[in-house]
Symmetry: C4
Subunit: 207 residues, 4 copies
Amino acid sequence: MNPYNQIAGRSVERLAALSDGVFAVAMTLLVLDLHAPAADAIHSEADLGRALLELAPRLLVYLMSFLTLGIFWVGQQAQLNVMARSNRDLSWLHLGFLFAVSLMPFSTALMAQFIAFRLALLLYWANVLLLGALLFATWRYATRAGLLADAGVEMRVAVERRIVVAQALYAAGSALCVFNTYVSLGFIVLVQLNYAIAPRIGVLARI
Amino acid sequence: MNPYNQIAGRSVERLAALSDGVFAVAMTLLVLDLHAPAADAIHSEADLGRALLELAPRLLVYLMSFLTLGIFWVGQQAQLNVMARSNRDLSWLHLGFLFAVSLMPFSTALMAQFIAFRLALLLYWANVLLLGALLFATWRYATRAGLLADAGVEMRVAVERRIVVAQALYAAGSALCVFNTYVSLGFIVLVQLNYAIAPRIGVLARI
Amino acid sequence: MNPYNQIAGRSVERLAALSDGVFAVAMTLLVLDLHAPAADAIHSEADLGRALLELAPRLLVYLMSFLTLGIFWVGQQAQLNVMARSNRDLSWLHLGFLFAVSLMPFSTALMAQFIAFRLALLLYWANVLLLGALLFATWRYATRAGLLADAGVEMRVAVERRIVVAQALYAAGSALCVFNTYVSLGFIVLVQLNYAIAPRIGVLARI
Amino acid sequence: MNPYNQIAGRSVERLAALSDGVFAVAMTLLVLDLHAPAADAIHSEADLGRALLELAPRLLVYLMSFLTLGIFWVGQQAQLNVMARSNRDLSWLHLGFLFAVSLMPFSTALMAQFIAFRLALLLYWANVLLLGALLFATWRYATRAGLLADAGVEMRVAVERRIVVAQALYAAGSALCVFNTYVSLGFIVLVQLNYAIAPRIGVLARI
């Protein structure tokens, strides 16, 4: 083995720390695009109320993106927690995943700005698909390269199945844009809230 | 238990690291909205002095928000320190709390821009209320789910009481806006300084 | 003791993690204010060269601020390293210090924009003074409250002396603005490079 | 030894944490410069498609910079992992390296804005060269000062050789701008992908 590869990308802790940093910045930057209305257009409380109401759909898009990032943060954190060690290839798969994370504030701003445009929704979905594909690839690589500490077959399958089901739901939600982008967004937010709140009622709890 | 839930959201350390990241970015972004005056309007030291004096109320709003974030950082850090472990539900409650943290730069910019508007103050207060409610919910959940390492009944009650008293003071301060938003801001800053400085004189030290 | 205070602000590690986050964001945001020239004013390589040359003084100001933040990061890191534990008061002193850190991108942008104005230099100096005063207060408090792990009298004095000498040099440098702000900046950058490079030649190494 | 130097810059962990923060912020800020098109110029899906296609070259530049930062993150992480301890000089060499990291969003924005200008490419290359030179200096210093935990001669040489080869490739790629900046960018991206993907085919795997 190339001696450099013996020390490159070995530290799961450092990878986790970088991930936490990128997620933290991306999560906080989402809202950075939400600007206070310009002062010179606001002359009364009512003006301000109207201006803020106009921002409401944007806020929903940010909430959706925060949920997305939250879901993927929990997902990658779950993966890194069961890894005994890392290597250079895994680090790069994870860096690719973090690149997709760093694109989320842009995709979100685009979606918030062009909420009724299918193209904005499809690009948003492409970003989520990239996140899912790279998370899946990281897990499969880690499994095959023997980097996991203690994950039985059942858990290996559960993690993969989970990503696939979630991506199928995202794809279905995005496909709903043939009707209307708002229908898509509503569907996606509901699916995400289901993941976040994790209700204990039958069929929903199993996805 | 769903095998995925056995590994999702388990790490208190990762949750703490993400929190520190989100707080660090939010605290630093607060001031990002404080722009240096445009160069072409400034022709003398006196011009610059006047332009900076106009920024002074904004700086006070930022200080208030930094104190708010500091208080909640100390609060969540105190909670996470006594947690023996985490789980997926707790992670999501905490992610909700971090979403409220990520909204603070926006609420702050709005308050700074429209310092005399009651609506801006009430939205700011709603953000603080959301922070408090989610911190309270996290603690109560952790208590009931048996996630705490070593917190006697006295401490459990002390943490809850503390959040409720603080929120009552924030609500009272915000209610003062029926007179004037400046009265509200002054009251809130004084309460926060009391929390930060923690004087040892009787009644103040007990709140 | 109030039961809350038994768990609030106890963790030196969390305080260090928050500090690293705030410093990392502040250090990176410094340069965020350095915008690429607008594309429509640039028609040739020579145009671009001229536009970038105009940015050169700003880059020097950023370098100065990066050095400042680097010096204070090394300083606070040295302090936290020898602390056995923290408490709520220390956390708040340190949060005050981090507030001063979060102001640096603004002070820097102001200085970069108004490089020839004494007022900008004096505000920059006030920011540095605040950093030094709070770092000094943190150390003195930690010493008196018995929070240090293993720092003999010699080290206690060395840390305090170091901060006082550095602040005296910053004050002297800022006072040079009675001649010219450029003289001040040059002096401060030289002093900072001396701290960063830490030459081993006699008198310079002892400051 | 000056007593202050006994505690200043000692912690490899803190240095790693600051680095992860700076890299995380820089990686995420890269994309911050990618703005959604202004809403008033977009009246149809086709308009949006055209506006986004115009952003495509910028996205490639961001990808290139993310790869650059990823490569240097893996590199510095590999170095810090084998360090038994740090000292003040090493901390400052590493802080210099982080300053070069913090410049990357600016260099990237400049390159993205002026993609056909040689000067923008050369400044970008200067930034990469600075990163490489400081990483090399950090390693050589750590080697000579005996700060490494367990790195045999083979590894010491491998790390240095790696940096030199990579810098030679960056320099060669940048020199290609005598033809065209796009040729340079294409060459650099290919080299970086080779580093990231680390194919196992003969000559490529050895660089």
